[in-house]
Symmetry: C2
Subunit: 361 residues, 2 copies
Amino acid sequence: MTQVFNFSAGPAVLPSEVLRQVQAELLDWHGSGMSVMEMSHRGIEFGQILSEAEADLRALMAIPDNYKVLFLQGGAMLQFSMLPLNFAQTDSTIDFVHTGHWSKGAIAEAKRYAKVNIVASSEDKNFSYVPEESTWQRTPDAAYLHYCSNETIGGVEFNHIPQSDGVPLICDMSSNILSRPIDVSQFAVIYAGAQKNIGPSGVALSIVREDMLGKARSDIPTLMNYKTFADNGSMYNTPPTFGIYVAGLVFKWLLKNGGLAVMEQKNIAKANVLYSAIDASNGFYHCPVALANRSRMNIPFTLADSNLDKEFLAGAEARHLLQLKGHRSVGGMRASIYNAMPLEGCQALAAYMNEFAKTKG
Amino acid sequence: MTQVFNFSAGPAVLPSEVLRQVQAELLDWHGSGMSVMEMSHRGIEFGQILSEAEADLRALMAIPDNYKVLFLQGGAMLQFSMLPLNFAQTDSTIDFVHTGHWSKGAIAEAKRYAKVNIVASSEDKNFSYVPEESTWQRTPDAAYLHYCSNETIGGVEFNHIPQSDGVPLICDMSSNILSRPIDVSQFAVIYAGAQKNIGPSGVALSIVREDMLGKARSDIPTLMNYKTFADNGSMYNTPPTFGIYVAGLVFKWLLKNGGLAVMEQKNIAKANVLYSAIDASNGFYHCPVALANRSRMNIPFTLADSNLDKEFLAGAEARHLLQLKGHRSVGGMRASIYNAMPLEGCQALAAYMNEFAKTKG
């Protein structure tokens, strides 16, 4: 098969070792005679898969015992509605940091169910930075404070966890979860769609501190109440079994490869390769993001001469460097380099970028 | 690998031909160098997978042009909430036929959002039959009439489509969709979880007549509004791409094997093998369901002497006849024989049942 490097923003590259294992046991999981896709979710086989996935994730992220680990459906976006319906009342205020596209989505949905206060926004500079925390206009009794730790489209990443001062802190970590160690105990809720660093799309993850549960509005749909999932071990209804299985293999792959501290070092090294190529290009390439908030996961860049965009993409494609086109809302290019992207992929892209700049610059 | 016959009620057996194809192209879909799990949902590759899946399903079920085909998440159960929020107001009445466990679930959730009228119930005989349509106490201006065409746990199947007399007819077809031809034009909405006859869990399907769209309550979560999915080709957010891919292969397998009319004949033959074994056992085995409503998909049966249950199950397991234990709410055994169960599986089970009855009877 062709060796490609896939820079898709999500669904995205998965560890090739994991995919080979999925392939090897696709028809017959551990001698059961069944594919994981064919197993009853109530059977002992899937029970083992689910409990190992949870235990491995707890080990990876050092999740304290007073947090529930929930496997959901509907992506992070369904949780844009679930969060206010579970954790805010109509007349309470939710504080949001507005750093781009995904913050905006969460804000828009929250506004339909509660009052919203934007504590700070980076819209003034096209969402290219994280507003300085000391400038945030916080609501003292906010229902919660919400931020998106990595804006997948803008390529803006928080390099620290905000001080929440007793207000429940909720974070959309869809595109940088598992990319570095984080202190879970500082959060009330962490949530993420799977399709970047966890596994295939169709699974969403939520890590919820237990004291947050049981306060949902009375009219909330049963399957939008986090408590429904918490009380039933994510099995109130049939979970996305195959996706959870693949996610579980990704967790094992991370543990085997040294866990999140090692992964962080690799991710820093990978991102440096690309940012160096951009910064050394004498303006041929440009990354619009403030230095301190450059994402390690999603690296957007533009060519000074956008007339060359098509040629750049075609040349990349010819070298099997795939899915580099930037999001339509910002244009240019975007290289998404999640955990499963090897250093070699970043080096191959940087080499191509250098070569292209030399030829066309 | 061990050849097993998997009678799980869902997630359930998939066509072995489909699973082998999934395995063959797991690392590299059609020379793309990517697994389907790694593809951007906005890329041309997945675009092709999704549009072929929809086109093939339309061909299989002869879905008229004025119906939208939607791929959702959350299973059929999330739709228990979505249906009243999309198609009924607080003060309108929804008519339900109550034939068992899954009817009950839909009714309970609907009661939270609208008035509910049970037009008929078979609770008097432990949900072992479909109440005669002439006895139904209908609401003339009901928001819709809902029924479950096959009760997976009770093994009770409708053998006809009810007359709706102008009231929108909504059907939960989770466990018998694609098992026989049906006239889609008689329905306002057909919905189903994938994990029986369609594909892996984590995908749900909805077939919605266009005039039903756009009437949802204003406070409905964006991702619970069918219109959101209809307006965005099931891609408002990232869909469960891999599950849709497998479902698409199942659709192609059905088309290749003659479509739903052929499948229906096979399903009748398969069910007959098992019902014959039960009926010929002189009461050693018993199926509680009324003759006219015996399901072709889920065949529950009890042993006259329930002390033999464990031994029966152990013997079945030893012969690689798996997942035959009945649902805890009804006990006994249940053989689920969806489209992908070959006739040989039913014959092997019937042979074992005969042998067991001869030895123990």
